[in-house]
Symmetry: C2
Subunit: 323 residues, 2 copies
C-alpha cells in the first residue's frame, strides 16, 4: 500500500489551506482572484508540510502558531513564483497559465507584493524574534540567489559551486527555514533543530536538482510546461552544466546554444538530445541521491514517530518525482 | 530665518540613514548597488521623519526601536517605488534614471523584493504585535490601492471617492502608519496615537494631491521628470479628474485624450493647457489646504515641544513643495 508522505498531517494541511485562503482575502476582489490563482497553481505544499512534520516530530503540542507559519512559508513561496514567472517569461506554471500572462505584468507584480506582505504578516505575528529572523534570512537569501542567477545567465562556464549557491538560496535554504522554524516552534532541542534544518537543506538541494533533471527529460504533459526552459532561458541547471563543462562530443555545441541570446525550437531539441547522449543526467541523479541520503542521515537524531516516517517518505518522493 | 522641518531630528535621521545603509548591504554586491541607487533617489525621508517626530512629540525616550522602524518604513517605501516605476514605465525618478531602466526589469523586480524583505525584517524584529500589524496593514492597503489604480486607468469618469481610496492606500495610510507607530513606540496615550495618526493621514492626502498638481504645473527641472505623466499613463489625478468631470469648455477633449491608449506629446501639452484653463488646479489646491488644516487641527491634542513645532513646519512645507 502506498502511503502518501503527508498522510500524517492531512488535517493540519487543511488548516493551513484555510489560513492561506483567509490571508489572501482582500478588499480588492481582483487581488484575491490573482492571489488565489497563484496559490492554486502552487502544487506540492512541501514547505508547509516540512514545517508541520518538523514541528510534530519533536513533539510540538500547540499547533496554532505552526499552522500560521506554515501558511506564511507557502504565501512567501507563492510570491516568489509570481515574480519568477515574470522574470523568466514563463507561459505556464504546472499547466496553468502564468499569472502575469493572464492578468498582465502590473497586476501580477502587485499580487506578488501582496502575497509577500501577507506571508510576512503571518510570520511577523510571532513574538519570537528568532522566527522572524529565520524567515527574513531565507527571503534575503532568495533575493540574493535570484540576482546571482541572472548574473550567470548565458555563462556556460559557471562554476558548480556558484550553481550550488544559487539553488541553496532559492530552494534549499527556504526549505531549511521551514524545517528549522517547525522544530523551533515545536520546542525541539538545539540538536533536533539542527538535524531537521540539515534534513530540509539537503532535501531542498535534491529537490532542485531533480527539478533541473525534469526540465531536460520530464514528460511535458505531467510537467505542465515545455521541456528545456532552462536552455531557452540560459539558466544554471546542473545536468546541463555538467554536459557543457564535461568533454563530451556535444559539449561545445550545447555551450554554444546556451550562450545564445535567442534560440529556435530546433536548437533546444538538439540540445536536449545532446545532453541525453551524455551521462550528465546520471551524474546529477546520483548527486541528488547523495543529498537525499544526507537528508535521511540527519533524521537519525530524531526519535521514531509517524511524523518522522512521513519525513522519510517525503525524502523518498523527491527522487521519484515526475513533476 | 527659515528652519527646516527636520532640524530637530537631524541626528536621528543620520542614524536612520546608517540603519538603511546597513540593511541594504548584501552578499550580492549588485543587489546592494541597486538598492542603494533606489534609496539615494528616494528624496524627502518624510516617513522616517514623521515616525521620529511622532515618537519625540509624545516624549519617547529609548530611540533604538524607532530608528529601526523609521528605516523600515523608508525601505518599504523604496521597494514600492522600484515596483511602481516598473509598472508606470517611468524613465526617471527625481531626475535619476529609474532602477529598472538602469539595471533591467528582472534585477529591479528582485531588488524591490529585497528592499521589502529588509524593511519587514527591521519592522518584524519588534516584540510588539501591534507594530507588525500596523506595518503589515499599511502594506496591504498599498497593494490594494495599486490594484485599484490600475483598475480605473483610462476611466475618465472615476468617482472622486475612488480617487480618495487610491491615494489613501498608496500614500496617506502608510504615512499615517509611520505616525502611529512613532507615537506608539514613544509611549503615547491612545489619544496621542489617534491624533498623530490623524495628522499623518491628512498630511498624506494633502501631499499626494500636491503631487498631482505638480505633475500638471511643476517645473520639469525641479521635478526631475517630464510633466503630464499622469495624463500619459491615464492615472487618477485630482485636478485632472476635476477638469474632466466638470463642465468646462475643454472637459470632453481632456477626457478623450485621457481615455486614449497612446498619446502624442502634442496631445499631452494640449491637455496640460486645457486643464490650466480651468479652475481645477485651484480647487485641488484648496482641498489640499483643507487637509493640511485638518492635520494641524489634529496636533491640538499634542503638548507643545520643538518636535511638535517640526510637525507644524512639515505641514507647512507640504503646500509649498515644488518637487
Amino acid at each position: 500500500m502506498v502511503v502518501r508522505w503527508d498522510a500524517s498531517i492531512v488535517d493540519d494541511l487543511r488548516l493551513v489551506e484555510a489560513e492561506i485562503t483567509k490571508s489572501v482575502r482582500s478588499r480588492q476582489p481582483l487581488l484575491t482572484e490573482i492571489a488565489t490563482h497563484v496559490i492554486n497553481a502552487g502544487g506540492k505544499r512541501m514547505r508547509p508540510g516540512i514545517a508541520l512534520l518538523s514541528f510534530h516530530s519533536v513533539g510540538g503540542k500547540d499547533k496554532e502558531k505552526i499552522i500560521q507559519l506554515a501558511a506564511a512559508f507557502e504565501l512567501i513561496h507563492s510570491a516568489t513564483l509570481v515574480h519568477d514567472d515574470i522574470n523568466d517569461g514563463a507561459d505556464t506554471r504546472r499547466g496553468t497559465i502564468a499569472a502575469y500572462r493572464k492578468y498582465g505584468l502590473q497586476r501580477a507584480l502587485i499580487a506578488g507584493d501582496f502575497l509577500f506582505v501577507q506571508g510576512f504578516r503571518l510570520g511577523g505575528a510571532m513574538e519570537a524574534q528568532e522566527v522572524v529572523e529565520m524567515v527574513a534570512e531565507s527571503c534575503t537569501a532568495m533575493a540574493e540567489s535570484e540576482i546571482l542567477q541572472i548574473e550567470v545567465e548565458r555563462r556556460s562556464a559557471t562554476p558548480l559551486d556558484t550553481y550550488m549557491s544559487i539553488i541553496g538560496g532559492k530552494t534549499a535554504r527556504p526549505i531549511e527555514a521551514s524545517a528549522r522554524v517547525g522544530a523551533y516552534i515545536g520546542g525541539g532541542s538545539t540538536d533536533e533543530i539542527e538535524a531537521l534544518g540539515r534534513f530540509g537543506l539537503n532535501i531542498g538541494y535534491a529537490f532542485q536538482i531533480m527539478d533541473d533533471i525534469l526540465d531536460l527529460t520530464g514528460d511535458r504533459k505531467t510537467l505542465g510546461k515545455p521541456l528545456g526552459m532552462d536552455i531557452l532561458d540560459s539558466k544554471a541547471n546542473l545536468p546541463l552544466m555538467i554536459a557543457m563543462q564535461g568533454h563530451y562530443p556535444g559539449s561545445d555545441r550545447i555551450a554554444e546554444v546556451f550562450e545564445k541570446d535567442r534560440k529556435t525550437n530546433e536548437e533546444i531539441n538538439e540540445t536536449l538530445d545532446l545532453v541525453q547522449a551524455t551521462d550528465a543526467l546520471d551524474i546529477a541523479r546520483s548527486q541528488a541521491k547523495d543529498l537525499r541520503d544526507a537528508a535521511l542521515d540527519a533524521l537519525k537524531a530524531i526519535s521514531p514517530s509517524k511524523y518522522k516516517d512521513s519525513l522519510i517518505a517525503l525524502a523518498g518522493t523527491v527522487l521519484e518525482r515526475t513533476y
